[in-house]
């Protein structure tokens, strides 16, 4: 059996890659995918601990995260499309409306 440490290290690596993408990529769609990556890293951690403890709480949490991620994807993509229609661009650095 694979020790839990490896799962956790993999999850941490995925999370860091996702976060790096969120912070540096310019295209909103890619940023979005990186967010998904971070969520899945968190899922992996939940499942690893569930397996270690042998109960189902981790599984329940993972299902919740999947549901929330689906909803978030639906709304997020809709926003991205709306932004593209109004501004003709999905580059994050072009959208600075939070300043106002």
């Amino acid at each position: 059996m694979v020790p839990i440490t490896y799962y956790l290290l993999l999850a941490a690596a995925l999370f860091c890659m996702g976060m790096f993408g969120v912070l540096v990529r310019r295209n909103a769609l890619v940023v979005f995918m990186c967010v998904e990556l971070m969520l899945n890293a968190a899922n992996l951690t939940f499942l690893a601990f569930a397996r270690m403890r042998g109960d189902s709480i981790g599984h329940v949490s993972a299902f919740f995260v999947i549901a929330v991620a689906a909803a978030e994807a639906a709304i997020g993509l809709a926003i991205v499309i709306a932004v593209f229609r109004s501004r003709g661009s999905v580059l994050v650095e072009d959208i600075r409306t939070m300043k106002h």
Binding site: M19, V22, L23, V24, V31, V92, E93, I95, R96, T97, M98, K99, H100
Partner: protein
């Protein structure tokens, strides 16, 4: 059924009536609410109807309550009647009922820890007689006001305030504990403020209202401190008292503690029991010289704290009852409508101090020092006010100073332990002084609001009813046999002469001789007032050529009050027998259940020698001669001497004396210099340093300045770039993780 039996059977049984005592207060309060809120819509006649009927209803209930205090039931024996009691005193041992009283407790008003105040009302003979005076004279003055205020647009406001005043005054009198009394005490102060400044568009009148309010506040502050001292005193007493003390008070420890739980520490009956427990004794009991062992008053003796509290109560009473050093507001209070002066500033509110000390007579007699101070303050105030009244030309100002002077006489009586006479003088004074003020109002009403007596004169032919009643009331206050004022004043002077305070024997004689001077002065200035207003030819400077007599609503109260100021003399006749068989004045006998504890303490503690003799014929003749000499001097001066010398300048010294008296001995200027200027200066400094600099500049504007500067610095951080924000979040998360890791490692 004979007459005595008629008065001993109340038409409404006391136990039925007791729960309705609150209605006596509620009726005028309701009247005030209706007149104040809906008065303008209701119209003048409806407001008159509501205000008068509210007070009339309170008067009927007061009569019933007063009647019920003497209710008896058929007893054993031939025609004997047994006194029933309806006022259980929880502080005494089982079946300790207060005689000639009825009470009802509406339950807890508020409770904080051990401290509790009940909404308890009680009527005994003292508060009963005051209820009758307040509602009876109050009703007459309401009736009078309907005519007096007929041209004023603020009628609804006026009657709302007047009803509010009556409600507050009734609360003051009905309360069975100090806190509820204080509610009434403040209520009458507020109503008085509102009514003095009734014509608030005139700045001088609004200012007079403020002066009254501020002066009263000084006294109220002292009253509050004294109340707190009483709470501490009661707790110290319950901590240290032993079985002997409780036995002397007719109680025991469990009983007293349970009563404190039930009624709170500030009921008059509880304080009375404590006073009895503190009486002097030669054994190991707690008495006035015992030091207090614990608490904030540790180290002081019971007697010392008691004296301090009573002196603070004196300051409170001096504020409300216009005594030195706080009397200055009352003459200015004449800015209000004249019926208000009659009701509040002559008959009822200003006597609250006398009532307070009569209610707490049992405590007052524990401290000869406090009693002597009360008597001396009263005598000095009375003399000063009488002298100022000599030279005042405003008819209402003369009456105002006369009120201050008469209140001083009542304080003399209270201070020398002749409580019943002080209360009797309170009652008779309410009658004749209300009559005088209403007469003055009638004179003003008929003469185009002229108040200068030099510009009146000769009114006896034009205003016959006003003249007749004013004459009766003048004779009553002057002290001419057989009017009530003579007997009540003489009863006070007699008591003052024959009572002696332990260790302070000189006070008795000093106050007595001052009293004689005051009596002569009273006769002088009242005769002067009467002569200049009603006798002689009509002044050439009169505002209207012919005065007109007032309407029946104004003359009827005058007649009733004049009749009352004659027949109230019956109260002072020695028609009754005391328990030891001596002749006793009717009123003394009537109030003896109220003052029984005071008598027990005075005899037991030997702080004051109470004399029970009645005046001899020679005393009466002497007092009569004193009054006649004062009145005769005024008559000679103002009918013969001055008219004969008309046109010639008066001697220089006479003008100087007159100027000083006319300027009220410069007391107001003295207060201005000693108190008001320094306070204003302090306020100016506080305004400049604390308000303008610290609060305005540093706190208020400083906060705004710092916020603005910080904001303009932080705006450079806000780029609007989502990724920059996310980077900050990530860094913060990293910091949190690093911190957690360090914690885990350690």
């Amino acid at each position: 059924m004979n007459l005595a039996e008629f008065f001993q059977v109340a038409p409404v049984a006391p136990d039925l009536l007791a729960p309705s005592l609150g209605l006596i207060i509620a009726l005028p309060l309701l009247g005030a609410f209706i007149c104040g809120v809906f008065g303008r819509m209701l119209g003048r006649a409806n407001v008159h109807l509501i205000a008068c009927s509210a007070v009339a209803g309170a008067f009927v209930l007061s009569v019933l309550a007063f009647w019920a205090t003497s209710h008896t039931a058929p007893g054993a024996g031939d025609g004997a009647r047994r006194l029933l009691a309806f006022y259980r005193n929880p502080f005494g041992i089982e079946a300790d009922f207060v005689r000639y009283a009825l009470a009802y407790d509406y339950g807890t008003w508020f409770a904080v820890g051990d401290f509790r105040v009940n909404f308890g009302l009680a009527v005994d003979h003292l508060s009963g007689i005051l209820l009758l005076v307040i509602t009876g004279v109050g009703f007459l003055i309401h009736l009078y006001s309907t005519s007096y205020m007929e041209h004023d647009d603020g009628y609804w406001r006026y009657f709302a305030y007047l009803n509010l005043f009556v409600a507050a005054m009734l609360t003051l009198v009905l309360a069975d504990n100090l806190v509820l009394l204080f509610v009434g005490w403040e209520g009458v102060g507020m109503a008085s403020y509102l009514l003095i400044g009734f014509w608030y568009t005139d700045p001088a009148k609004a200012w007079a209202g403020r002066k009254a309010f501020v002066t009263n506040r000084i006294g109220d502050f002292a009253f509050l401190i004294a109340t707190f001292l009483m709470v501490l005193l009661v707790s110290a007493f319950t901590r240290q008292a032993n079985a002997g003390d409780y036995a002397m008070a007719g109680s025991n420890s469990q009983r007293y503690q349970a009563a404190l739980q039930e009624k709170g520490p500030l009921t008059f009956k509880g304080l009375e029991k404590m006073a009895e427990g503190l009486m002097d004794s030669n054994s190991d009991k707690v008495d006035l010289t015992t030091p207090i062992e614990a608490g904030p008053l540790e180290g002081y003796t019971f007697g010392g704290v008691m004296t301090a509290a009573l002196l603070l109560f004196l300051l409170g009473a001096a504020g409300k009852s216009a005594q030195l050093p706080l009397y200055v507001w009352l003459p200015d209070a004449m800015a209000g409508p004249t019926p208000v002066s009659a009701l509040i500033h002559a008959a009822t509110m200003v006597t609250a101090g006398v009532y307070l000390f009569s209610r707490m007579a049992a405590l007052l007699v524990l401290s000869p020092t406090a009693m002597a101070t009360v008597a001396i303050i009263g005598a000095l105030t009375s003399l000063l006010a009488a002298l100022i009244a000599f030279a005042q030309d405003d008819i209402k100002k003369v009456l105002a100073y006369s009120t201050v002077s008469q209140l001083g006489i009542m304080f003399m009586g209270v201070g020398m332990g002749i409580f019943w006479a002080a209360v009797l003088h309170l009652v008779t004074h309410a009658f004749f002084k209300a009559c005088l003020f209403l007469g003055a109002g009638s004179v003003m009403h008929g003469n185009g609001d002229e108040t200068d007596i030099k510009k009146l004169g000769g009114l006896r032919h034009e205003m016959k009813w006003t003249w007749g009643t004013f004459l009766v009331a003048t004779l009553a206050i002057t002290g001419i046999i057989p009017l009530s004022g003579f007997f009540s004043k003489d009863a006070i002077l007699h008591g003052v002469h024959h009572n002696h305070l332990e260790g302070l024997h000189w006070v008795s004689s000093a106050v007595y001789y001052l009293g004689l001077v005051i009596a002569a002065s009273t006769a002088f200035y009242m005769t002067r007032l009467y002569l200049l207003t009603f006798e002689g030819p009509r002044s050439k400077e009169a505002r209207v050529a012919h005065a007109h007599e007032s309407a029946w609503q104004m003359t009827l109260p005058l007649v009733v009050l004049a009749v009352l100021s004659v027949v109230a003399a019956v109260y002072a006749f020695p028609l009754m027998r005391s328990s030891s068989g001596q002749p006793q004045a009717v009123f003394e006998n009537f109030l003896s259940p109220v003052f029984s504890a005071m008598n027990r303490i005075a005899n037991g503690a030997k702080t004051v020698e109470l004399d029970t003799s009645v005046p001899h014929l020679a005393d009466y003749v002497f007092a009569w001669l004193v009054a006649l000499s004062g009145g005769g001097a005024a008559a000679f001066l103002y009918l013969r001497f001055f008219p004969a010398r008309a046109g010639q300048p008066a001697p220089a010294f006479a003008r100087a004396v007159r100027r000083t008296a006319q300027n009220k001995f410069y007391v107001d200027e003295l207060y201005e210099f000693i108190v008001i200027r320094p306070v204003k200066f302090m306020s100016f400094i506080l305004f400049r340093v604390v308000d303008a600099l610290l609060i305005d500049t540093v706190a208020v504007r400083g906060t705004a300045w710092v916020t603005a500067r910080v904001g303009s610095a932080l705006r450079y951080v806000q780029t609007g770039d989502a990724q920059a924000y996310a980077a900050v979040m990530a860094l913060a998360l990293l910091g949190g993780v690093a911190y957690a890791l360090i914690q885990v490692m350690q």
